[in-house]
Amino acid sequence: MDWFRRKIEKIHPVQKKAIPDGLWIKCPTCSEILYKPELERLLSTCRKCGHHFRISPDIYVKLILDEGSAETLFTDLKSNDMLHFRAIKRYSAQLNTAIKKSGNQDAIQFYSGDIEGNPIVLGVMNFAFIGGSMGSVVGEKIVRGISLAEERSCPLIIICASGGARMQEGSYSLMQMAKTSARLARFSGKQGLFISVLTDPTTGGVTASFAMLGDVILAEPGALVGFAGQRVIKQTIGQDLPPGFQRAEFLLEKGFIDNIVTRSTMKSTLLKIILILHAK
């Protein structure tokens, strides 16, 4: 059975080169191998194809707010496991783990701060905190953020990243969609400016509430944005999804977002919108 034996002696199986852990990362879009310190200098975007990696909320704060202007808000709110929810994991345990890992109390943090000297209220969601899901605390913080922006007559910006409503809080989480939307309606009635920034991923109940209610809606390149999850849609229609489906570029084409903005131009774009629309 010679066919299966290697006849040419010169060819040897090559051992895969080991990549030192933590220093290199492969771009999921173009497969370019990226050097992490360089990636961080580029705000976690691929130097070759511009792929936007998911980043932690504090990077957005540094990216958007003037240095030294950020003040953290509403840190006293904490989620309750009011339903004593237990699936494979207990909700209370999930909460504790998420708080320990992230150092945050829940899936959104609020800040007051300035963009080139213009005061704003900024909300930044954290996908790493139970999928960035919206429960009672996320809903309440958003409502307080809107109230503060209204009180100070300054714009509100929310960086969205969420899998949707938090199932572990049952209908309480669902109703946060209505609660936040109703508060935004009042804010809008008082000439309040709300800019929604959609990052990867923004789906479910967050898309179907405040995220899609921005006076101006921006998205990062390639961000997944949609209502239904891709797995569910696939099961429903029984076929594969077209390439690029539910990505930021797809939403732009369908007319549901105002613009796609790269991380490096995010702050200047936000400033432009504020200066033109929010002129006093």
């Binding site: 209908s171 179907a208 209502f227």
Partner: protein
């Protein structure tokens, strides 16, 4: 229509069949009459016993009972003069929601009702009661019409969720629902929400923001269907009964949470056993609620609606 009998209803149906048999014998006699009377009492006791101890999962099954009254059953009974208003004026008509005008005992109303089908063909047409963006936009269009002519709105909820399809996403399912939440919080006429079957996710909430939130006894309402929750958090849709318990989805649960204002009792043995009885009960409840809501000034109405929503949530605050 084939009679569907749920597993836990079987003892009741057995007794009912026996009663039918005895009554059809058409023989006069005190012995038989007594036997019928005994059986009738036993039937009542059995129903009380079974329906007094329903699990959450059994309630979910009742809410989905294929013989349950659907939106159009209620609407046609309550308003024989009902006129359907179709289409969103942008894209299409969505048959999974019925909208239109009519009167109940002389009171003008605007109906929104999520509509399921009674058979396969009907269900394909109604898309199993799962709305698409054009459905939410049609609902918003008729709500604005109701607002213009000062007609109160009755919204009947019966859906397992918004439709998860390619076209629905392309046409902005998320935006359509979000827009309704935003607008419904400020519509200047009374909005009465009634869950008549099942209600899941933004798909239900998209026509579910209002001044009063009522649920029929054997209905459920939650952030996601028990099957959806189970397949995500247990990675097994068969754990749906556990998910129903964990999320606390029944009318009694929602009343405890302060999200449901009032639970409307159903006829003995469930709405599917007595459509007319259920419609009569609902008619009375609607008339009571509308009369109360009409007493409020527009400012008070909107203030109460806003406060109701703002107070929903459960969290702790240190300091």
């Amino acid at each position: 229509m084939n009679n569907v009998v749920l597993e836990f209803e079987k003892p009741i149906v057995e007794l009912e069949n026996k009663l039918l048999e005895l009554r059809s014998q058409n023989i006069a006699g005190s012995e038989l009459a007594q036997e019928i009377e005994e059986l009738e009492k036993k039937r009542q006791r059995t129903i009380n016993k079974i329906f007094g101890n329903l699990t959450r999962w059994q309630r979910v099954q009742l809410a989905r009972h294929p013989q349950r009254p659907y939106s159009l059953d209620y609407i046609n009974y309550l308003s024989p003069d009902f006129l359907e208003l179709h289409g969103d004026r942008f894209f299409a008509d969505d048959p999974s929601i019925v909208c239109g005008i009519g009167t109940i005992e002389g009171k003008r109303v605007m109906y929104l009702g999520q509509q399921k089908g009674r058979n396969t063909n009907d269900n394909l047409h109604r898309n199993f009661g799962m709305m698409r963006p054009e459905g939410y936009r049609k609902a918003l269009r008729v709500m604005k019409l109701a607002e213009k002519f000062n007609v109160p709105i009755i919204s009947l909820i019966d859906t397992m969720g918004a439709f998860p399809g390619l076209g629905a996403e392309e046409r902005g399912q998320g935006e359509a629902i979000a827009r309704n939440l935003f607008e419904m919080s400020q519509i200047t006429v009374p909005i009465l929400i009634i869950v008549i079957g099942e209600g899941a996710s933004g798909g239900a909430l998209g026509i579910g923001v209002g001044d009063r939130f009522l649920m029929l006894e054997n209905t459920w309402f939650s952030v996601i269907s028990p099957e959806g929750c189970a397949s995500i958090l247990w990675r097994d849709a068969a754990k749906a009964p556990e998910a129903a318990d964990a999320m606390k989805v029944t009318s009694a649960d929602l009343l405890d949470m302060g999200i449901c204002d009032r639970v409307i009792n159903e006829p003995l043995g469930g709405a599917h056993r007595d459509h007319k009885g259920m419609c009569e009960i609902l008619k009375n409840e609607i008339l009571i609620e509308l009369t109360e809501l009409e007493l409020l000034s527009t400012d008070d109405l909107l203030e109460h609606r806003f406060d109701r929503l703002s107070n929903i949530g459960n969290y702790s605050e240190s300091k």
